[in-house]
């Protein structure tokens, strides 16, 4: 067993699941103090995530068989570079969302449910990132779905409920397709372990069908064009901290799973035309999301369609995966940069919406001029979405274009750059009302934290502009399969 060699030092991986789960329980048992449990949990989880990333960076992937049962029967937690980076991103953005929710929800009745569900979602996401077998990934995927659906439904009212219902049905369809793929893989190879599968999968009918089912199921969940119609209503109508969590974190979950499967289980399945098909859909998503973001009239809808466009970039993964060796790392860095920037934009949008009492873009000018900190946050995070220099988004796009050019894939580099122009257009449209002449108006009084958190996240996107090297060093410690 190679796993025993890595069992040195402290065991961190299980705690990243246990801590948020216990936090969720405590928040559910004592709803009156739920937010303080939430904050405590968020802080503890961030510390654990940092330690885990350092540990993986220092000594390579950590594999842990829970309860001493090794993978064929037991459950293994696997923390490698990719998993620990995603956990760290989740923890960083998660702490920001928790702080923001303190101000946004206060001690309202709705807020009490929020904390339990949000910490549950967090535990589920961490469990998913750290899972080492395909069936556990299914179970954690379902946990993520149920928690996110409940969070969308928190807003109440007909439109959010319908959005939550559609989100649930679409997600369950995706999970079922994924589960069918798991069954086919088990039938063909008699194991569920990612690494075990990766060593055995060869180009044949059963794994190919499994790959198609799992990938399509997960594409539905990650809302790649043309399967995106459920996303804008669900992300746009949820309360601001929930929109941020969904757009910044939950979308990345299914992307991560697709990446993990193609890195570890299916690298031998180089289906001809798949890269072109997926790249085409990705390009269409970038274009369609960008155009729709220019057309819709409400702030949060613009941001939600921007997510549709940015999901497109994530799936440039496929053209890069086989052609450029480091290409997938560029895509992961893009996912992290997008996570931080999109959370900042959604939280800033939530602040403006609360201050103005609505989010009709054309009428937001006065509040934007009155709340400069928030508009500034919107601007910086928007610059990261566009990919302007000095931001994380710039480095991410730079890496993407670089790996596309190294592999002589000029077309995909053009997609990245063209998408940046479209993003520029809709970000300027978001900020436009702030530059109209007229008096400023602070709108309704709001807790100061609702202005500081988006601003801090926006500044974090600038810090990410300098985090390229450590992030890539961490990603180099990722387990990849194939070649068996």
């Amino acid at each position: 067993m190679p796993s025993t060699a890595f069992m040195a030092d402290v065991i961190l991986a299980p705690w990243l699941v246990i801590v948020p789960l216990v936090g969720a329980l405590l928040a559910g048992l004592w709803p009156a103090t739920a937010r303080w449990w939430g904050l405590l949990t968020a802080l503890a989880t961030l510390v654990l995530a940092l330690l885990l990333a350092l540990q993986v960076h220092g000594q390579g992937p950590v594999v842990l068989a829970l309860g001493g049962w090794s993978p064929p029967l037991g459950i293994a937690l696997v923390a490698d570079g990719l998993a620990s980076l995603m956990v760290l991103m989740t923890a960083g953005v998660g702490l920001a969302i928790s702080l923001y929710a303190l101000g946004y929800l206060g001690g309202t009745a709705r807020g009490r449910w929020f904390w339990m569900l949000w910490l549950w979602l967090w535990a589920a996401m961490n469990a998913l990132y750290l899972s080492g077998d395909v069936f556990n990934l299914y179970v954690t995927l379902e946990l993520v779905v149920l928690a996110s659906v409940a969070l969308v439904a928190l807003a109440g009212g007909a439109a959010p409920l319908a959005a939550a219902m559609r989100y649930l049905l679409v997600s369950l369809l995706g999970s079922m397709a994924y589960l069918m793929g798991v069954v086919l893989l088990y039938g063909a190879y008699g194991t569920l372990d990612l690494q075990g599968l990766g060593a055995q999968v060869t180009l044949s009918a059963a794994p190919m069908m499994a790959a198609v089912l799992m990938t399509v199921g997960l594409l539905v969940k990650s809302a790649l064009f043309p399967l995106h119609v459920w996303l804008p209503p669900a992300h746009g109508s949820a309360p601001a901290p929930v929109s941020a969590a969904l757009s910044a974190l939950v979308v990345k979950v299914s992307f991560y799973l697709i990446l993990r499967l193609w890195l570890m289980v299916f690298p031998e399945l180089t289906l001809p035309g798949l890269d072109l098909l997926m790249g085409g859909l990705a390009a269409a998503a970038v274009l369609w999301g960008g155009v729709m973001a220019l057309r819709v009239s409400r702030l949060k809808q613009v941001v939600a369609y921007s997510t549709v466009a940015q999901v497109g970039y994530l799936f440039l993964l496929f053209p890069l995966l086989w052609a450029a060796p480091g290409g997938w790392q560029a895509v992961v860095f893009f996912a992290v940069a997008h996570g931080v920037a999109k959370a900042a934009v959604f939280l800033a949008a939530g602040t403006l919406q609360q201050a103005a009492g609505h989010d009709r873009l054309a009428e937001l000018g006065a509040v934007m001029r009155g709340r400069l900190k928030t508009s500034f946050a919107l601007g910086i995070a928007g610059a990261s979405l566009v990919g302007l220099p000095l931001t994380g988004g710039f480095i991410a796009k730079w890496l993407l274009v670089q790996s596309a050019l190294e592999a002589h894939l000029w077309g995909w580099a053009v997609v990245v750059l063209g998408g940046g122009l479209l993003a520029g257009a809709y970000v300027f449209r978001l900020l436009g009302p702030a530059f109209e002449p007229g008096p400023g108006d602070r709108g309704r009084p709001l807790p100061a934290i609702m202005e500081w958190v988006p601003l801090s996240l926006a500044l974090l996107t600038i810090a990410l502009g300098f985090a390229g090297t450590p992030a890539l060093a961490l990603l180099a410690r990722t387990l990849v399969g194939g070649g068996g």
């Binding site: 409920l161 319908a162 959005a163 219902m165 649930l168 049905l169 589960l179 039938g187 209503p233 109508s237």
Partner: protein, 106 residues
């Protein structure tokens, strides 16, 4: 004691058929209860394929798929419960247990 291969094929084919019927109903039907039932039928199809896989292995019945089916049933039950509650809320809010036509919302 591997099962007779013809029987096995029947399990796998029926499972696949149930799965496809479920997908069809989920897309075509508009009433939410029917959609939720469709998802459960898809799940049953998957479990049936899994049972076929369990019986078809060499050297007796494989216990792992049984554990997977049990876990899968628990997950499906929770998802169905959430879906049903949500359906009732949608019904209470809109008066209809179906989703509005999709399109760019405003």
């Amino acid at each position: 004691m591997a099962t007779d291969p013809v029987n096995l094929q029947i399990y796998l084919a029926c499972g696949a058929l149930l799965f496809v019927m479920g997908v069809h109903a989920l897309v075509v039907r508009r009433h939410l209860l029917l959609k939720i039932l469709a998802i459960n039928i898809m799940g049953s199809g998957i479990f049936m394929v899994l049972l076929g896989v369990a019986a078809g292995g060499e050297g007796g019945v494989d216990p792992v798929p049984h554990a997977l089916v049990i876990t899968g049933i628990v997950v499906a039950l929770s998802a169905t419960a959430v879906a049903l509650v949500l359906m009732l809320r949608v019904k209470a809010a809109t008066g209809l247990a179906r989703l509005p036509r999709s399109g760019p919302e405003d």
